[in-house]
Symmetry: D2
Subunit: 346 residues, 4 copies
């Protein structure tokens, strides 16, 4: 059985494991105040060309989204998000558990537009019963989105301008940021992305680490007491050095980007396998997640040898499913998938 279900099927990239072994017996203070975290923070600041940014390490995505959003909003405010946004769909109401509404905007491809944000803000602000409606207090997007799609530089620039116009901090969920930045169609580098938002995170869990997300706070107004939020939300790892070691490794010799690029290249082959075999794709993804629409009968056959993630029913006999590539995806496994898909078509 070969699994393409997700990008967190294996442990960590071997370079990370090696560094964890090498440093295992070192003694260090806890809670992210150790030297590994310090150098990792420095390397991330350098990679972002943001010497003044605050960098914090958390363990997982839900925790990170919840902590960031709770740190930005006032109690009566909500967060604007695509209706398909991760925080709206797949976090068991974690945002709401902190008291905030996820205000949803319709979306076909996982993205929302500056215009949608502006229209919503204007409507809320000028409605007669404005005080009775949840006030939007920030904007949440993910890059890439849940469907693997990417914001263009123009789109993100427009979004950030609108956000500044209405004083709405813009938060970019970068759980899979590496895949976005190294995609063929990517229009942005890490420093450029960092400049087009107020706060974002660089995902580790889904890009080669055992676990870990690096929050980068660009906007000074959002820095105050962030560690208190982390601790209160259970997001401050006792042996914080584990996060430091991992991100230090990922940001040494561009490992983070190499890992991500490898996954994208494997994913492009997967896309070609399906597209050339005549399948429609659910989303126009240029990143490591690919979503072919397949007949249920064929899924049953392919499912005997290959793991994929069920996404959604598209009609009574077809479904959209997800195949993911990661740092660990081998050419050999992709070739096996190619052969199996071709076999379906005979």
């Amino acid at each position: 059985m070969i699994f393409f279900n997700s990008d967190y099927l294996e442990g960590a990239h071997p370079a990370i494991m090696q560094r964890l072994m090498e440093t295992n017996m070192d003694q260090s203070v806890g809670y992210g105040c150790d030297p590994y975290c310090d150098t990792a923070r420095e390397k991330i600041r350098a990679a972002c060309q943001a010497p003044d940014a605050d960098v914090h390490f958390l363990v997982g995505g839900t925790q990170t989204n919840t902590t960031v959003i709770a740190s930005v909003l006032r109690p009566y405010q909500g967060v604007l998000s695509a209706v398909s946004g991760h925080i709206n769909c797949h976090e068991t109401g974690a945002i709401e558990s902190t008291g905030h509404k996820v205000i949803t905007l319709p979306s076909d491809n996982g993205k929302i537009t500056a215009q949608q944000v502006e229209e919503y803000v204007k409507w809320q602000k000028y409605d007669e019963s404005s005080e009775h409606i949840v006030q939007p207090g920030m904007v949440y997007i993910s890059h890439p989105t849940e469907g693997g799609t990417l914001y263009t530089k123009e789109e993100l620039t427009a979004m950030y301008e609108i956000c500044r116009k209405y004083e709405l901090p813009l938060f970019v969920d970068g759980a899979r940021l590496g895949y976005g930045l190294t995609a063929d169609s990517s229009e942005m580098t890490l420093p450029e992305l960092a400049r087009l938002c107020d706060i974002f995170y660089i995902g580790g869990t889904k890009v080669g680490a055992l676990f870990g997300e690096a929050v980068v706070i660009m906007n000074p107004a959002l820095k105050k007491d962030f560690r208190c939020f982390m601790k209160q939300r259970g997001g401050m790892l006792a042996k914080g050095r584990l996060l430091g070691v991992q991100f230090d490794t990922l940001f040494t010799d561009d490992l983070y980007f190499k890992i991500a690029r490898h996954a994208n290249e494997m994913a492009y082959q997967i896309r070609d396998i399906f597209v050339s075999a005549g399948y429609q794709m659910l989303f126009e993804s240029d990143t490591n997640q690919q979503y072919p629409i397949m007949p249920d009968a064929e899924l049953e056959i392919i499912g005997k040898e290959f793991g994929y993630e069920y996404w959604e029913r598209t009609d009574p006999t077809h479904s959209g499913v997800r195949f993911c590539a990661s740092w660990a995806t081998t050419q050999e496994n992709v070739d096996a998938l190619r052969a199996a898909v071709h076999a379906l078509k005979k």
Copy 2:
């Protein structure tokens, strides 16, 4: 200037004011444990033909919705509601402030169906990532709805059956319950409605009281420690007797229903004024709120003499607006409105 903006423009029905005056100097214990509350509870139980129901008095609607929903749900659960439901649109995220997601179902006329609920529950329950999705823990409907529409007996029966099948308590927001029960097209009496849900409230604020909502808990499993929830949420009035006196008066000699019927009759005249003058209505309301769609130019004219509530834009030159009747609406004022609308058409 004559106002039709809402059904809470005046103070209270004179019979209530009189009773408040008469009892003003009596001494009583606080927090709803006084004799006025006791007799009011008895009269409400009798009106519901529900001798075992628990009855509690709260001050306002947002408070009541928040307290009831927080008392029913577990922290990881949400409440199913029409996307147009009051709790989703007009309570500044009060439900989310208690940690719960409002899970929205699409609706054209303010109502949701048993089938929608069942489909959602099945989808959530059998989704591969079920634990990552907010679990529906109850169903919220209002009767009448925000648009003044009514559930038929068949619809409500089907809804309650589905709710019991999936162990989802059904909560009916009855902020305007009186108007619903006394509508021409009403298919249900108060005892019948009480039997078709687990918990509901009888609105006072919008039906003749100074303020006050009477929560009726039909399902014994929902009764435990409800007063603790009330106190914690700031919903336990120190001089609880004020609520007891008001509801005692409303449920003496059917005053609650007489008030509501009067308002409906005034509203039917208002509906006739607009329909006979050729206006479309935004909702098919058979209750005290009527929503004509009018050209903006005419609204400007009518707005010089009459207060109405702006509801929504329907096209670039037309808007849906709300005219409400209440216990205090006079024939004289309705006649004035009739004359003004006729004048527009000349």
Copy 3:
């Protein structure tokens, strides 16, 4: 049976009831935007000599404390309070329900000192694990306290200086403020008190109104979007005019202070009854609540004719109990109490 249990045993002062009757049929917009609220706000600003203060009307005390505290704190902060503070003891964890810890300081007489606050802040700030300890974000005191005691001008001045030094907003719970300001030993006027804190409220429920608390925001930094907090917490009354009418009446011709002074004078008589009969008092109260310590056997006798509130056991055979006076307390009833207490001693 004559009740001295609390200061909210009756309805409202007759002047308030009369105004509510007179205005009952007027039409007005909702949610505190009506002309009655406007004039009441003006009168309160004038009484406070604070033309720039924001004034908001809420229904009850728990609601007010919760809303104010939630509006001031960041999520990881707590509120410093005497261990005997109302918010710590008698609100069913309402503060905690909004996510905040009540950080308690020891107190014998219901008061806390500037020095206690400073010591706590310094300890938390300089502790090695500062981020792991709840950060104090504001100070809560009540004036008078739960035991009826009063802050001196010197004490409150010192407290406010410390609060400003450490940027901790000072909130004064004035549920019984009138009794404090009109006590024989009061060292402060309303304008003076207003200048010695950041936000406070003028209690109506316990000082002659049917219900209602007037929040006065002195510190401009705390004004933003307060109405959103009110609405979200269920504290925005639909017929807000009821609060406007009541506070307008209370702040016309000094009625608020006259009511409070009357109650204090009755309370001083009650104090004299007990003190002259040789009873110890639980607190040195100079306001409308008096707390004699009585043998349980005598309490049983007195309890047959007079209502009081049980406070606490002081030894196996004695208890501290509360007798309250209010605007409605009559000389006749106090005389009856005097006779009964004298009878005990024969």
Copy 4:
């Protein structure tokens, strides 16, 4: 520099690191549904002699305490704890952030008694204003306590009986459980402890793992939907296998207990070093944390070569400090400490 500050200064026990390396390239599903977690759960159930217990893996202590407590309580309930309890002092108000009050009971040595719990429950239950006081909904203790002290079997039995009598689930925080169970004075085995509470956790972070806490739910009533709580609170690790591998290793060949026993033996030597040198100890700890009271002048000297954790000032010139042992503490380092302490006394 040699550090004795805490028991989480190093990475993980080498056996754990080796297993993480060996399994690194295996593919597995996420979120704790993998085979490693399954076998770890089986081994923990076996070690507890509790075949029906539910076992869940979380990442850290604050997260675990918060998730467990939020899963047990109703919104208006609080958790009884020693005033020195970790949840009350060192988690930045994490419990309160979920809406619950930590109800504190006084304690000298970190422990609370069955009698204290019973007295509190009776007082709250029979107080006249019972509904206005936070209802205790569960009891939290830690074993060992913050000061390293241990409950005797008799004490814990009495506590659990009282808890069952009043239907209060008993939760044992076992962040350092291994040290408690392998102490010289321990009166309980793991199966015995499991039978004397409703829910507890076996700490990994502080007992040899990189991170991880294993929650064991003994009481069937507390099992429902626990994974939803975990996900919502950000406590469900994507690569859950990391927790499975670690606990599987810890519960193979009694590694967990061997690690803990080693630490205790090192700690007993540390205790002897200080006691034999004439120092008083702050707590009577029989576990891996030792708390000598030392003159500040000597602390300055010892601090140049040895790391310790500052605990509290005991008088103007003395402080209580903490020296911890762990699986990684070497005889060599303890000998160095011995020499240094002896040197102080010359």
